[in-house]
């Protein structure tokens, strides 16, 4: 077999996997898609129905009486926790990258960057355990009551602080997990910028920070967007850590930033065993539908990033 054919086959295999996974998910979930209809996306009821009564037949499909599947709370929980994580991680990540690239002597740079990248190497379950043991009691008993008391006037910051499990905790821990992705990519891009850009800016009288802010950062905007999208993908799909700290709220939307939530990824894990006790199999198929929606959201986010990068690229080309 020629080299060309062989590598081409491998490439097709990789690309085909995505199509196959989505196709199989769709096929498996199809009875659930038909049963649940569009209300799957905008209703707040996840109910397996009466597990201990006999199934009934709807549209030729065995279902449990009282079974309803609507996952708005999961979609909201997933998007909000990712949003909170990004709101924290992007500024912190950019700041850290600037410091690592410009504010440190080269000898220390290597070491600091090494540590930042190691953060990305920690398995997510470790973050989850740490969040469960350390972060939740600390936030729930000290930080959240303080925030609610002094910043309660900000929308969604007031009200009951609950127990530490919830949206803000998930966002915080997620942000820690994605900061290294943003920092590492941006730092490398900043360091890779040609020295003449920096020298030109400084020659025009810019301070070090001004040179960074007005010349170097805009030049690396593409990388920042790319890094953030990569981070978004990770936050959307993060499972274990969120499962351990989100409070696993079911069937209601968070009232404020401290409230318990659930995300699609963690919900699939936490509900699979229960779903398997549904004799009609509809619960598992509905979980597959959740997975399908999660897949679609991730694909949309990635597609959006591509479009953004494309326009960004054309713009910088014009400027250059």
């Amino acid at each position: 077999m020629s080299f060309h054919l062989f590598t081409g086959l491998l490439a097709c295999l990789v690309a085909g996997t995505l199509v196959i996974i989505v196709a199989f998910l769709g096929l498996y979930a199809w009875p659930a898609v038909r049963l649940n209809g569009f209300s799957f996306l905008y209703k707040n009821t996840w109910s397996l129905g009466f597990l201990y009564r006999n199934p009934i037949t709807v549209h030729g499909q065995q279902v449990l009486r009282g079974a309803h599947y609507g996952i708005l709370f999961l979609i909201v929980g997933t998007l909000l926790s990712t949003l909170v994580a990004l709101a924290i991680a992007v500024p912190v990540g950019v700041g850290a990258a600037m410091f690592l690239a410009e504010g440190l002597p080269p000898s220390l740079q290597t070491w600091f960057s090494f540590f930042v990248e190691l953060l990305a190497a920690i398995p997510s379950v470790v973050y989850g355990l740490w969040g469960y043991v350390v972060v939740i009691p600390f936030l729930g008993h000290r930080v959240f009551p303080f925030l609610a008391r002094h910043f309660g006037f900000i929308p969604f910051f007031g009200g009951a602080v609950g127990s530490g499990y919830g949206l803000l905790t998930s966002g915080l821990v997620l942000s820690l997990m994605i900061v290294p992705l943003i920092t590492a990519t941006l730092r490398d891009a900043l360091v890779a910028q040609q020295a003449d850009l920096r020298e030109a800016a400084v020659a025009l009288g810019a301070s070090r920070f001004e040179a960074l802010r007005t010349v170097l950062l805009p030049a690396t905007r593409r990388v920042l967007i790319g890094g953030s999208i990569l981070a978004t993908g990770r936050a959307l799909g993060e499972t274990m850590a969120v499962l351990m700290i989100s409070g696993n709220a079911v069937n209601y939307l968070p009232g404020n930033i401290y409230a318990p939530i659930s995300t699609m990824a963690s919900f699939i894990v936490s509900q699979l065993d229960s779903a398997l006790t549904d004799p009609t199999g509809m619960a598992v198929r509905s979980l597959a539908e959740v997975a399908l929606v999660l897949c679609l959201i991730s694909i949309v986010v990635n597609g959006f990033a591509r479009i953004l990068l494309y326009y960004e690229g054309r713009q910088s080309a014009r400027v250059a």
Partner: protein, 366 residues
């Protein structure tokens, strides 16, 4: 889009080194593991499920190893939902569950539901200053708390049940299980059998659609329920009696529950045996029956059979024999059901007529 950071040579080197160590360790552990299983020719029995039954299995296993050295039993605490689904899938030999399988499920997967002992469930709370007092609670009051119609500890319903107790005006944090759970099953049965509105809207199951109660939290397994209650003042939770020692150690409250006859009772061997005595004659051949909310003045309202879900057909005669021997030992008053074991987890041994029924089912394992 090449976004991943360039791996620095330093890191590569380190990673390679660490990888090498890891691989060596893995190889070593695998070879040791292989040797131990190969040498004795032991029969491995996997048990998974109920976190309520788990503490008892942990007590049983080391002792049983002396009785039958050829058998290695590995118990896991994963929740009854997992116990049912993994027994159905045939991944484990024993699925442990506080809930019997539903009619529809048994029809699809005809597993034996063998009771091994009787357990109880407590309702626990973390009320600063009041944990020493056994608060009185009823099915309707608990249904109100878990459906969000009773929001504060000093609600009229709870006050009425507890005259003279100074209850705080604080939001109640109801804690429920997020994993498929037999504890959820028996707790929601208590609510269903005592409160018609709960029966119509939520009903019972190993997983139910919990009404949305703002501030309510979910927890994994009985250990998670204990931790959540302990970490959250003003929380309330339903926890199996095998965790009573942990509850007492943490200084959490144990409620007295209203039974069908209208009496308020604490979980104890006496009240559990009273309830069992009423329900034993009603137990059918396949032993799938709820013992919840039993009649009788002294009957504790939440007791249940602890089930082992087992396939009638085993892959080998050795495995079938090993399982029969283990179950026979487990339900025997000279084996796993001695007062020594039962008292440690606050369980009650099966009454003699039920032992007979269980023995008949055990004999079907071939």
């Amino acid at each position: 889009m090449s976004l991943l950071p360039n791996l620095r040579p330093v890191r590569n080197h380190r990673l390679a080194w660490m990888g090498g160590v890891l691989a060596l360790a893995l190889a070593a552990s695998v070879s040791i593991g292989a040797r131990t299983t190969m040498a004795a020719g032991t029969i491995n029995i996997l048990e998974t499920g109920s976190s309520l039954l788990y503490p008892l299995f942990q007590l049983w296993v080391p002792v049983y190893t002396h009785t039958d050295p050829g058998v290695k039993i590995t118990p896991q605490s994963t929740g009854s939902g997992t116990g049912i689904s993994q027994a159905v899938a045939g991944i484990v030999q024993i699925g442990a569950s506080d809930a019997y399988m539903s009619n529809a499920l048994v029809k699809m997967h005809p597993l034996l539901n063998i009771p091994l002992c009787i357990s109880m469930q407590m309702v626990n709370y973390n009320l600063p200053g009041l944990n020493k007092i056994h608060l009185r609670l009823s099915g309707p009051a608990l249904a109100g708390i878990y459906s969000g119609t009773i929001r504060y500890w000093d609600d009229a319903t709870i006050k009425e049940l507890n005259p003279g107790v100074h209850l705080p005006h604080h939001l109640i944090i109801p804690v429920h299980r997020t994993d498929g759970s037999g504890d959820t099953f028996i707790f929601t049965q208590y609510l269903s059998f005592s409160t018609p509105s709960w029966s119509n809207n939520v009903s019972y199951g190993t997983t139910v659609t919990w009404p949305a109660v703002p501030g309510g939290i979910g927890a994994e397994g009985n250990p998670g329920m204990v931790t959540a209650t302990q970490d959250n003042p003003y929380a309330i939770a339903y926890i199996g009696t095998s965790f009573q020692n942990a509850i007492e150690k943490q200084g959490l409250g144990i409620a007295v529950l209203k039974n069908r006859a209208g009496n308020f009772l604490l979980p104890s061997a006496r009240t559990a045996e009273a309830a069992a005595a009423v329900m034993v004659p009603k137990t059918p051949q396949d032993e799938r029956i709820s013992l919840i909310f039993a009649p009788g003045a002294e009957s504790y309202p939440i007791i249940n059979y602890e089930y082992a879900l087992v396939s009638r057909r085993q892959p080998s005669a050795e495995m079938a024999a090993a399982l029969r021997k283990f179950f026979t030992w487990a339900i025997s008053r000279n084996g796993g059901s001695t007062p020594h074991f039962m008292a440690a987890v606050h369980f009650v041994p099966l009454p003699a007529p039920v032992v007979k029924l269980s023995q008949a089912q055990i004999a079907q394992i071939q």
